[in-house]
Symmetry: D2
Subunit: 394 residues, 4 copies
Amino acid sequence: MPSKIVRDSIHGSIKIPDWCIRIVDSPQFQRLRRIKQLGFASLVYPGANHTRFEHSLGVMHIVLNLAGRMDCSERERREYIVAALIHDIAHAPFSHSSENLLRKYLRFRHENIVPVVKGSEIEDVLKDEGLRLNKIAKIIEGHNIVSGDIDADRMDYLVRDSHYTGVAYGVFDLMRLIERIKFRGVEPIIDGRALKAAESLLISRYMMFPIVYNHHVCRIAKKMYEKALERCVEDRLIEPKDLLKMDDYDIVHFLRGAGGYPEEIMNRLDNRKLFKRAIYVSRSRIHVEKIDAKRAEAELAEDAGVDEKTVIVDVQEEDEAKELRALVEIDGELRKLEEVSPLVRSLKEAEKELMMIGVYTVEEQVEKVAKAAVRFFDIRETIQKRLDEVLPIW
Amino acid sequence: MPSKIVRDSIHGSIKIPDWCIRIVDSPQFQRLRRIKQLGFASLVYPGANHTRFEHSLGVMHIVLNLAGRMDCSERERREYIVAALIHDIAHAPFSHSSENLLRKYLRFRHENIVPVVKGSEIEDVLKDEGLRLNKIAKIIEGHNIVSGDIDADRMDYLVRDSHYTGVAYGVFDLMRLIERIKFRGVEPIIDGRALKAAESLLISRYMMFPIVYNHHVCRIAKKMYEKALERCVEDRLIEPKDLLKMDDYDIVHFLRGAGGYPEEIMNRLDNRKLFKRAIYVSRSRIHVEKIDAKRAEAELAEDAGVDEKTVIVDVQEEDEAKELRALVEIDGELRKLEEVSPLVRSLKEAEKELMMIGVYTVEEQVEKVAKAAVRFFDIRETIQKRLDEVLPIW
Amino acid sequence: MPSKIVRDSIHGSIKIPDWCIRIVDSPQFQRLRRIKQLGFASLVYPGANHTRFEHSLGVMHIVLNLAGRMDCSERERREYIVAALIHDIAHAPFSHSSENLLRKYLRFRHENIVPVVKGSEIEDVLKDEGLRLNKIAKIIEGHNIVSGDIDADRMDYLVRDSHYTGVAYGVFDLMRLIERIKFRGVEPIIDGRALKAAESLLISRYMMFPIVYNHHVCRIAKKMYEKALERCVEDRLIEPKDLLKMDDYDIVHFLRGAGGYPEEIMNRLDNRKLFKRAIYVSRSRIHVEKIDAKRAEAELAEDAGVDEKTVIVDVQEEDEAKELRALVEIDGELRKLEEVSPLVRSLKEAEKELMMIGVYTVEEQVEKVAKAAVRFFDIRETIQKRLDEVLPIW
Amino acid sequence: MPSKIVRDSIHGSIKIPDWCIRIVDSPQFQRLRRIKQLGFASLVYPGANHTRFEHSLGVMHIVLNLAGRMDCSERERREYIVAALIHDIAHAPFSHSSENLLRKYLRFRHENIVPVVKGSEIEDVLKDEGLRLNKIAKIIEGHNIVSGDIDADRMDYLVRDSHYTGVAYGVFDLMRLIERIKFRGVEPIIDGRALKAAESLLISRYMMFPIVYNHHVCRIAKKMYEKALERCVEDRLIEPKDLLKMDDYDIVHFLRGAGGYPEEIMNRLDNRKLFKRAIYVSRSRIHVEKIDAKRAEAELAEDAGVDEKTVIVDVQEEDEAKELRALVEIDGELRKLEEVSPLVRSLKEAEKELMMIGVYTVEEQVEKVAKAAVRFFDIRETIQKRLDEVLPIW
């Protein structure tokens, strides 16, 4: 079987090596065609309909490009390439939108690809090619080139999400960065001459978070979907583990026919009749230690005298605190990126400011719920005002 | 209600006038978010997941820009703008992929928006704003600015489809063209100084057809879907008119659960196990006068000794022969574009070469069916070879 | 000496192989930094200040990319690369603007690089590297990959000129085309699957000619410069062969201080007080067989009663009729591009219409000279009007 | 006189209002066509040949766009537009490269346009149009929209310099920023919703400084030119004030014929035989209080035992400390940008790290001079090493 070339808006052409084609052709991988990369972001950015499928090819493309420089066996090199290709294969419908649920009920994270690959055609291919699933799984869970600070995953999604949303901020100096990554064994090292390019990737990420990934409307839609789905799980209408086999079409259809609250929420999502913000403040200014969102929703609803189902408390979490472990080589010495770059340090600080707490409800109840939320989080009127400033308003 | 700004990958920002927002917010228009602009093209170009929603906003954006120069009443101007906005509101799931069916059973074309608007919230808005549905419908069916040779519809979709497929050919000099269109009353006239820009739009179209719109894999998927759907109609599983209320999610779910042949085809589409080409030749070289695809499928299948359901005959039709009616003003005189531009004339000729006849079947039967097709269409071996040359091979 | 990477607006990064660096560093090659790629085009497109230097690197970049596929010795491969790099080394100031003069007085064409290389540092490098100057010279004069229809020179300049002028038409599918060129020995063959990409390059060229290269203001400035320079040669103020050592700075300074007519013209160029068109008609409609521009200027001036120095007759020449010799491989057979593509054939025809005859003069005399020109070229009033239509008006 | 449209690579089309055309056509403004925007940056980025002419049109284009929202008389509005158009009219050849000299000998800054405009055709136009030169001069010297933190000048040059150098970092969300600037009277206010867009402009600037504007090779070439020119002034070969009438062609020719040291330096610039870095360290780590570059050169040369003319000490100055005075409106309240944005504060800090001290000399003397410099600036070996890290290496 000859290699295949796929046209890609970001990288121009992506060449799929012959031995990867069977993986791409497997139903498990084809399913990614029907899982939107950014979940409900298309409700804000109508162009954001791109899928995990093209993103996965993109990450493979970057790693394929880098792998030639790795100092390792050909088998290992291929394991890195497969890791890149299937790193998102365990995503549930609407990508991150289903993730909290899987985490809560199954303690499952999408980086855990083993259950999806086991018994699938992909496993057959791995066997035929003499590649180790365990090794691949380990790369996906923690190797710097697939999942670090300056990794192929980020390199692809920042530029790609920027392209499809029409937001300029995801552009960074991808080509220069790729050119300047070297390897010690299989560990990526950024050449000092690409320091600015590495900074530019982190800046992109800093900009894309409030503007796209955590845009309040995206958060609201995601949380509505999550709440509807959770209700279905509680009512035994669906098994969490089934999500791993479903695509966006399945879950939309399921919710449209689920009756009651979940169906109502799905109708709202279809017709873009979304909840609105009651409050939206930077987490850094709230003095409550740990927040149990579910309990908060109940208390808030009671205080406001409204139905609990119409209140959502959204506590944004910092990206699982990856320490900034990317390494830079300067004058032959290895240094941590954040040690070398004052800008990177300050971005890390500034990012904290961007994590928000939002309380959302149906339009008619906004005022009532806002008041209850101010009480619940003990927000002083003046602070509420001041905090609004750092709003990632669009 | 203030105007709204939507971020768009093509035009940067699109401003939705306040009085249009209710139309955009209606369920009928929101449904366009869930209808892919290019049907199954994402099976070839993984980025082609964009929808009729953003395209419709784009066309409105262009007409809004042009409408200021029209010499007409404010009411009429708004009717043009609404026409642009809702010109695709009567598209069925997967856009053009469902169209033949509607045409066959209902003699319905998607330009016929009246049945979809009647009784909907959009009709209410039109009444409130004092705009005439009939007038709008007429604009959509035939006015040069929404549906001509050099119209806002094409201007938007060529650039947009190019952006999302990653194919360079859709780029043309949009800005210059828009700048140089003037109006006599409400009729668009191309300023002679934009002659090259107008040519560039028609060249784009000429290039995009074989590369994207009529790419053989897109045709195959479309025809498979059509055949599956037709079977459902014949078996009374679905009413053709219901398609106008459905979105891509509905129809995919419907077919996945339809049982038998339609379900099997849907599985093939999901997993990209598509039919293959048995033959694929330029129509201009086939001497059969008129081809009844359905009868041809039956005869071919019989001759090849295979199941009729596994054979598809695809006769590409030239775009409903719009005469090239765009007008150009040169030295104060109006001339037809094709009169003034030898390039445009030759494109018109060259386009005929691009219309193909394809016969598709499951992989295992390709050879058998190919032979039967050669007999059926009376293709000489040598011609078949020669014809292959003009293949829009990708 | 390690290889060097140069940042390029078109190709991103250009890697200069170590053994080429001495050529790039030679004064002969550095001189190209100071020769504008498009001569006086910046008077129309203010961004068009790019130089032969970056274009030359760009062409080398493309050939370097292609050369790996050539079936030849390493020495030969390097000769192709050097040929690409220095193919424009014999350009005189303002590129093509000085060329007619060199042709007239020295029968010299810029493809003739030998006299410039002989005795220069570049010759030393060639000797040290064991490369043959004669072979390189021959490649530049006629090899399909450096100077054919679908050659690296065109591939670079169309995209580059488009980027710097801001004119969209030079964009074509560069990446696809490069990917799909193969070689039989050292002869480039276009893979049939890149037929559309090859067509797109020729379309670009067709569009760029009237809009940029032959824009009437570019022609006027070029012709003014030519006439001023010719006067200097006649008056023995300058030796034609000296032009090959000069750059734009030298010649501008020379003309600014040349006194009399040449200085006056240079002032006009500096201050953009250009001649205007008296007539401008398509060559295809003029019935005069062969036109001696110089004699025509004299006769026209006399008839109009004006100074001969203020009249310019500009007869645009078709690009030295390269037959369309690019080869395409389809089903293993080689075919001429124009045989396979009806569009290419029609472009060839349409291009003839674009060659114009212009008569230019100072603003005050336009009317007088126009009348004389109508008489001289025997243009019927009505035809003059009709002919104006195909004006490549901007 | 009708308005004119100029094609621009950045803004697409720039419309020059009819009443501005005479200014654009004046010899003083046409001279900007022949002054490179980035001086000698083309020695690093071969595409950086763009000029003050197109940049000036670009700034005018932006202000023209914004001026409609200003609350002022039509006369004042036009004064802002003219200010934008001619804000760089007092630049000397190679832009900033000549500036230190003018400052030293004439205490002249290029923002001081009055001496250039006085007595020129531009002054006539201003009189005819009833516009006040003094007012215009004052706007150029200090108004936020032409010369602030978030001003039209920066908006244009960042994107433009990025386009021509091929460096990605200059891209920011120009369109969004322009859309979101409002005015209180004539004072620009950034709408809070464009906070990220404003940040993105400052990030661009932060990235472009080390990568382009202060790239060490650009610095070296600039300083060589400065030193050669200063010698000419000292030797009375040229009057500093004459620079304001000269263009790049004049000064290149002048230096090529100046004899002795200046001519030698010009030859080096022509042939890119540049000085090299002996040391290059961040200013923030040097403990010497104030540095007199000229005295330092003398002492260093003596210590190293080399000719003073071959040593350059380059002390990079922070951009004349504009306090970050841009105002942002949030919840109806005006706040300083840096107060609202932690990122902006940290950029301000990080920028200090980017200011370098360089000592340059001819290749053969690098080692000797480096040692003397380490002594002179009292740099500890270890520190020198550490400091190298923040090198804006390319």
